[in-house]
């Protein structure tokens, strides 16, 4: 067994980060906190792409492109999310997600 | 596009034309719908002519056939990976049903000439519904069949919920829920057939070449039969029918009782009996008992009804029982009778509901005891009503007799898988309905049309021209089938042979395919 980082190490790392992100998404009360947790998720997903690209048996570059796309999408998402937070804050004076419960029948 | 596809494309195209009509032109909408359906009537006549030209009606090949022979087939691969194809065609039974539907929708459009609330949406939905019905009758791919089936069933919810009367939301919901539940059963059955055939195809003809294991047939047959039985008003799954029919607007009742309920019998025959002959053998007696209850129970329940529509709905329960009863006699005579009964009940009940709508439009009541002596002011409607009533009690010379005599004879002739004595006893019980039917039909009609004319009805008028045309067509159809049945029997006989011949096959015979 080797301590030098192999595929599995990398994957475990990204999975841990992803799990932490999940925890955050599920528990943060502040909407901005939720957004940050989502960024963690996206980050670890991008990392996974790069990891697989790195360890692929053939020279690929598609993983890197996907990571790029993820970063771009994350940026777009952050912009929209911020706009939404501002709009919600303006109308409800809070961004506490436990207070925002109109999503039910 | 082939001839058969036009059968359902035409109403659909008419529906689109209706939707695209500019708002505020209700007259235009009706004219388009009428033009579309009359065109369809002509198309059906042409297709029938073509069909009669190409189809073989006699000969040993027809008599010994084991696989339904289709004519005017169109077959195009669709989702090849799933074994789904666009597969439409005609055999005698579908031809017969197409004729029925074409007549009923034409008269239905005429009968809804007085619709004033959102006519555009009404006619569009009606036409979409009917294109689904045509699709079911011509499709020979299980997937396509189911697709069209859903298209036919779903608009009913809106049609009753929006244009209905009385507790319409309740009825619409109940009807839709029960039919959806039955669709689920049908879907389960179809998927089981798809899986069980091992051929990875929804092609009905291909599946029919497979001999399913007995155990498989024993559970799939009741699933299919009950699934289709719900829409065919099989006891005790019939209760959507009285509520639904009484709440629905006239044309919808006509179509629903006249055509949609036939999908049940048609499916039970085409899918249940044809694909699962051994399942049918094992379950025949059970379902025969159930349908006997249907027949008698519907008739007795009709006696007690005060509302004309409820009354007709229960009589439909009784008559649709005959359809299913005929199917499970598992012999040539009975199955032919079931098909004719589908047709005759379709026409008869469309006539009934059409007339009820017309009478209701005038008297503003459907309670029989509130009426009386109406024959004096509306003789045309009275005559048509009497003819419909007489057809429903199986008077010779009208279509009902041809069907019922076939079914009773079928029940008496019996088959080799069920106990003959039990079958005969059940048949005798079923025949008792002809008396009960006479009782309720005559009581109902006497209350409505005979007796002293009430003061408030003295100013009412007889049928208008459109109403005369629509009822006239239906009456003439009833009489033609009743007096010259041989054309129609020839039409369906060739299609029934394979269904019956397959019943006699032993497991080793299946190797021929």
């Amino acid at each position: 067994m080797s301590f030098s980082p192999e595929l599995h190490h990398w994957l475990i790392l990204s999975t841990i980060l992803f799990s932490i992100g999940i925890y955050g998404v599920l528990t943060r009360r502040n909407a901005v906190g939720v957004l940050m947790s989502v960024e963690l998720l996206l980050n670890s997903a991008a990392m996974n792409f790069l990891i697989f690209n790195h360890y692929a048996s053939k020279p690929f570059i598609d993983g890197a492109i996907m990571a790029l796309f993820i970063i771009a999408v994350a940026a777009a998402e952050a912009v929209i999310a911020m706009a939404l937070f501002v709009a919600i804050f303006r109308s409800r004076k809070t961004v506490d997600v436990t207070q925002i419960n109109t999503l039910k029948g | 596009m082939g001839l058969v596809s036009w059968l359902f494309v035409l109403p659909f195209a008419t529906a689109i034309a209706v939707i695209l009509t500019p708002a505020g032109m209700p007259k235009m909408v009706k004219k388009i719908a009428l033009a579309g359906t009359s065109l369809h009537l002509a198309l059906t006549a042409f297709v029938t002519y073509k069909f009669v030209q190409v189809a073989a009606f006699s000969g040993d090949a027809v008599k010994d056939a084991l696989i339904t022979h289709l004519y005017l087939v169109e077959k195009v691969p669709w989702f090849e990976s799933l074994g789904i194809q666009y597969f439409v065609g005609l055999d005698g039974i579908s031809m017969f049903m197409v004729i029925l539907t074409s007549i009923v929708i034409f008269t239905g459009v005429l009968a809804s000439w007085t619709v004033t609330e959102r006519p555009k949406e009404f006619f569009a939905l009606l036409l979409i519904l009917v294109s689904g019905v045509f699709g079911v009758f011509v499709s020979f791919d299980l997937f396509l069949f189911f697709l069209f089936y859903e298209v036919a069933v779903l608009p009913m919810y809106l049609l009753i919920g929006i244009w209905g009367t009385g507790p319409k939301e309740y009825s619409a919901m109940k009807l839709t829920m029960m039919l959806m539940a039955s669709s689920a059963l049908i879907l389960v059955g179809f998927l089981a057939l798809y899986q069980g055939s091992g051929k990875e195809t929804f092609d009905l003809i291909e599946i029919s070449k497979v001999h399913f294991p007995i155990v498989f047939q024993n559970w799939v047959f009741p699933v299919i039969f009950i699934g289709f039985g719900v829409i065919g008003a099989l006891y005790p799954f019939h209760t959507w029918s009285p509520d639904g029919h009484s709440s629905a607007p006239t044309a919808v009742s006509m179509l629903h009782a006249g055509v949609l309920m036939k999908l049940g019998g048609y499916g039970a025959l085409r899918i249940g009996l044809y694909l699962l002959p051994e399942g049918a053998q094992n379950w025949a007696l059970f379902f025969m008992g159930l349908t006997t209850i249907n027949i008698i129970y519907g008739a007795f329940a009709a006696i007690k009804q005060k509302d004309l529509k409820f009354f007709t709905a229960y009589s439909s329960v009784s008559h649709c029982g005959f359809v299913l009863f005929g199917i499970v006699t598992l012999n040539m005579i009975g199955v032919k009778g079931a098909v004719i009964q589908m047709f005759s009940h379709g026409i008869m009940t469309a006539l009934f509901f059409g007339l009820i709508g017309m009478v209701y439009g005038r008297t503003k009541t459907r309670i029989v005891t509130d009426m009386g002596g109406l024959a004096k002011v509306m003789p045309w409607l009275a005559v048509c009503f009497y003819i419909a009533g007489l057809a429903s009690l199986g008077l010779p010379g009208l279509a009902g007799f041809i069907a019922e005599s076939h079914i009773f004879l079928g029940g008496f002739v019996g088959n080799q898988w069920a106990d003959a004595t039990t079958m005969r006893i059940l048949t005798v019980i079923a025949t008792m309905s002809i008396v009960v039917t006479a009782v309720y039909v005559l009581r109902g009609l006497a209350n409505v049309f005979q007796g002293p004319l009430k003061e408030q009805f003295k100013t009412l008028t007889d049928a208008t021209l459109t109403e005369k045309i629509s009822t006239g067509i239906l009456v003439v159809t009833l009489a033609i089938v009743g007096m010259a049945p041989w054309y129609f029997i020839d039409l369906i006989e060739a299609a029934v042979y394979p269904m019956i011949n397959r019943l006699g096959l032993t497991a080793s015979n299946w190797m021929v395919f």
Partner: protein, 186 residues
Amino acid sequence: MDITLNPADLTHTIAFYTLALTSIVAALIVVTAKRIFRAAVALAVVLICGAGFYILLNYDFIAGVQLLVYVGGIVILIVFAVMLTSSLESIEEPPSLGRKALGLFSSLAFLATAVIAFSETKFPLSSISAEQPKDVAKAVGRKLLDYGAGGYVLPFEVISLLLLASVIGAIVVARNPKRKNEGSAT
């Protein structure tokens, strides 16, 4: 136990573990910090560590992008969001115990499932990393603008459209409705 003592590898390994530990701790802070601003700072740390990882994986260009866009753009954006919706010092109410437990359960369940899943899976990869393109930035650029087979020009355009749409959308959503009439008047 055979521990290779290749100096390059050793540096590599140490860097990996250091960064991993940092990023995990920082990520934990992101999700648990009561002060939302502190969380934002921790997020920046995680993302910077991420850039470090990319360098370790030989994707210098992506690491640069990560730093520029993520740390430089998104984190700033988030800080702005924090400031627009609450004061920097505001303290978040801790989540309820049940929610915490559920969240913990869910994340651990995911972790366990994922780890078991890929430890059971035999990836068709060589343990030794394959020959990478010499210049990642160049390769990425070519691939992105390549309209032949395997080219990404269409997604690239779509992404640009998405960014544009999100910018416009953000403006529309966040615009103060009270000013709406004035805006349309001019």
